[in-house]
Amino acid sequence: MENILEISGLSKKFRSNYALKDISLSLYRGEILGLVGANGSGKTTLMNILSGNPLIRETGGFTGTIKLNGKIISPANPSDSLKLGIGMVYQEFALIPSFTAPENIMSGKEIRLRPVTSLPGLSVPLIDRKKNISKAESILSSIGVTGIDPRVPVTEFNVSTRQFIEFARVINSKTLKLLILDEPTAVLGRDESKRLIDEVRRIADKGITVIFISHRLEEVLSLCHRIAVLRDGILESVFAASDTSAEEIARCMLGGIHDRAIKTHSHTSPGNCDYFRIKNLNSGSGGECLKNFSLNVSKGEIIGITGQSGQGQMLLGKAVMGLIPSDGEININDEKILPGDTESLFRSGFYYIPEERRRDGLLPENSVAENILFTTISTKHAFTSRSGLLNTVKIHEAARKYIYDLSIKCTGIKQKVCELSGGNQQKVILSRALSLKPEIMMIFEPTRGIDIGAKEMILNMLIEMNREMQTTIIIVSSELDELMRVCDRIAVLYEGSIFSVLTPELPEEIFIHAFTGRAL
């Protein structure tokens, strides 16, 4: 068996972060490789490199070599990749909304009228509409899709039909050597998924190599020859499908649960069991979404929300705050609040600390003092003198106190926060939360990108906030061991809604199964 694709020593850096580190992998002709791993694991980056996403070149290119059929390749844009024979079925679909199904499927490969039937004297390459429609229909029927109206724009079809049209678009290529499928079954029901998978198998039998990305481990096991697991940019393992199990793969993906620490935090009986409720929150579409997400939080508890990447966590806070369109209901102390009604959320004492610290959590060019006290000034009208001007003296005083209490390392209250380290930036954000004294706080990935020492301090701060100010805290994080130490309960998110709510004493197996959507 010859190797179609040879990747060796592939690395990709974004600024100073390694998204991919020294990946080496070979695929033979007709092989179906399953690729699993969290969203931060480098999967997307690897696909972007192979499919020629210009972002890669714009951010400094990659190191290492990729060989297709023995020749070194480096596609600079999707057009290059296509010419090389690499076809990618995108999770978000690359369908042109106003085009019909045939127009999308035949895009770039339209059948033209033969010169004799176009205008005499001019060899204008007019498109032969009829032939294109019939060709498209034959491709669709070969993958089991019939009855598609060829005159209607694709936006009129439901999402699973569009998935198949997207699939047809990519396989409509005589030069296809490598087919990459990004979560192709995410929007499909069970029967449709099976149909698609059978089709992929048939394509591989014809000699086309396939990379199949999915978080549904059963599918990956049944379809693929081998399964590659990526974690934190490194290729952890490559399993032969026949030799492994979903357990083993899940364990490899999640890295196991090291340092099973004893829960160091406990508190007395929780208060009102339905203090904070999210009911049927729906948001997002296609790739990552929230589907009828519901959760009940007790007053004064610390509850964690976790799961594989891409199951909807990133959308939760934005959906509640109305930063992305969503519908559903939020209840705080029996007061009904709609997502996006930030005024009511603030009034009820809710505060959201987003995942992207620099982008959404700070004013980078402003001082430490301004960043710490911003929200207290804006929502509680604090530090404002009678004339309307801000009382700079008092603001500085308060800021200095927080810097001292939390040991924020900075040259002073006037330093710009963009100059601080990640850990100190997070402390600034938490100081802001402290100054607000929120009733309930939703914080995302509190320890991401922070060194070990600071991580402990942040976690302790959260525990203290809960103990001293009775703040109810919701921590959304991928660091399961941290959650085990700090939380009273841990909810596992799968495919957009809560799969189960567990407690830290439960055995590891239950967590691993919950992460991959299987109940024990």
Binding site: P78, S79, A94, I96, S98, F99, S107, G108, R112, L126
Partner: protein, 343 residues
């Protein structure tokens, strides 16, 4: 579900009311409208492909118009008469338009999402460079062969140059008179040919690329289309068409107002296109033709109507400027809101 566009109806209503009050003869108006169809068609057609390619209203067709004027001036300067002169003007204009279209398209690829405001400013920049060449350059660092074109001070082209050597050559070719209405069939053929050309372009794979980029640039890029190159192609075609349109426009008028002939050609063309029922995202030939008829009939009758109703002709003139700007403003606001609604 195609949304019903009330614009043509609105313009038709206004035109009818204004026509009634203007007391102008229907014959006169009809003849004037025919002339304006001949004069303005290609300029409005030039807007169609950029709209289809998702670049919005291309206000920089004014650059194509200036290229045409440059072409005429070159021919007058070299004193090339007759049909040869017309061809020469067109060819030199097209040459300049291709280059300008390429430059403009490349620039617009750097300001994606803000093409419309960019094309307005590009128009101002172009006008400045144009004035520099013709008001300052000719006679100073550009050798002038025909001193009659120059201002009395010896440098710079005059405000108005006559196109006498080219008048009535193609203009009134194959003229047919039906009950007082004059129909120049050669020019109709030219307009029809241009319309067919635009339609044909859109039926080719290139046309599909324009449509794809206009529908969803991101997806088009992912599916392998070189969106940057496609957009540049759209601008080149647009500028060339505008140039040809202005060549026809000027030879029909019979003279060139060197520094003002191109003014507002972009605004009026866009307004006409919108009046015909086009939107920022979709424009077809039929919108263009209907729009020219509606917009220009309104344009012809409002001054007289203003005179008759308010004893003030100037009101009619201001009114039609307002209609032009206002229709573009409303089209922009409605379209952008609609776009946001879909997101």
């Amino acid at each position: 579900m195609r949304r019903f566009n009330p614009a043509p109806l609105f313009f038709a209503l206004l035109s009818i009311i204004a026509f009634y009050y203007s007391d102008m003869s229907a014959l006169f108006v009809a003849n004037e409208v025919i002339i304006r169809i001949i004069r303005n068609s290609l300029l409005v057609f030039a807007l169609i492909i950029p709209v289809t390619a998702g670049m919005g209203l291309n206000f920089s067709i004014i650059i194509g118009a200036m290229a045409a004027q440059a072409g005429w001036i070159f021919m007058l300067d070299l004193q090339v008469p007759g049909i040869l002169g017309i061809a020469g003007a067109a060819l030199s204009g097209i040459f300049i338009s291709v280059i300008c279209g390429y430059i403009i398209g490349s620039y617009l690829n750097r300001v994606k999402g803000r093409e419309m405001i960019a094309t307005i400013i590009i128009g101002i920049l172009g006008a400045g460079i144009y004035q520099f060449i013709f008001l300052v350059g000719y006679g100073t660092f550009i050798p002038a062969h025909n001193s009659e074109l120059l201002l009395s001070r010896g440098a710079g082209i005059r405000d108005m140059v006559d196109l006498a050597p080219y008048r009535n050559i193609i203009d009134r070719l194959w003229l047919v008179d039906i009950g007082g209405i004059q129909l120049p069939f050669f020019m109709f053929t030219v307009v029809a040919a241009a319309a067919i050309a635009v339609k044909l372009i859109l039926l080719t794979p290139a046309g599909q690329r324009f449509r794809a980029v206009g529908s969803d640039r991101g997806s088009a890029e992912l599916s392998g289309i070189n969106t940057d190159r496609t957009r540049i192609q759209a601008m080149i075609i647009s500028t060339v068409l505008a140039c040809l349109g202005q060549i026809i426009f000027l030879q029909n008028i019979g003279m060139v107002n060197v520094y003002t002939a191109h003014m507002n050609s972009d605004i009026f063309s866009c307004a006409a296109l919108l009046a015909g029922g086009a939107t920022i995202k979709e424009a077809k030939i039929r919108h263009a033709l209907l729009g020219i008829v509606l917009f220009h009939s309104l344009y012809i009758v409002t001054p007289q109507a203003g005179q008759n109703i308010f004893s003030n002709a100037v009101l009619g003139e201001y009114f039609r400027s307002f209609i032009a700007y206002g229709s573009i403003a409303i089209a922009l606001i409605i379209n952008i809101r609609h776009e946001r609604g879909k997101q």
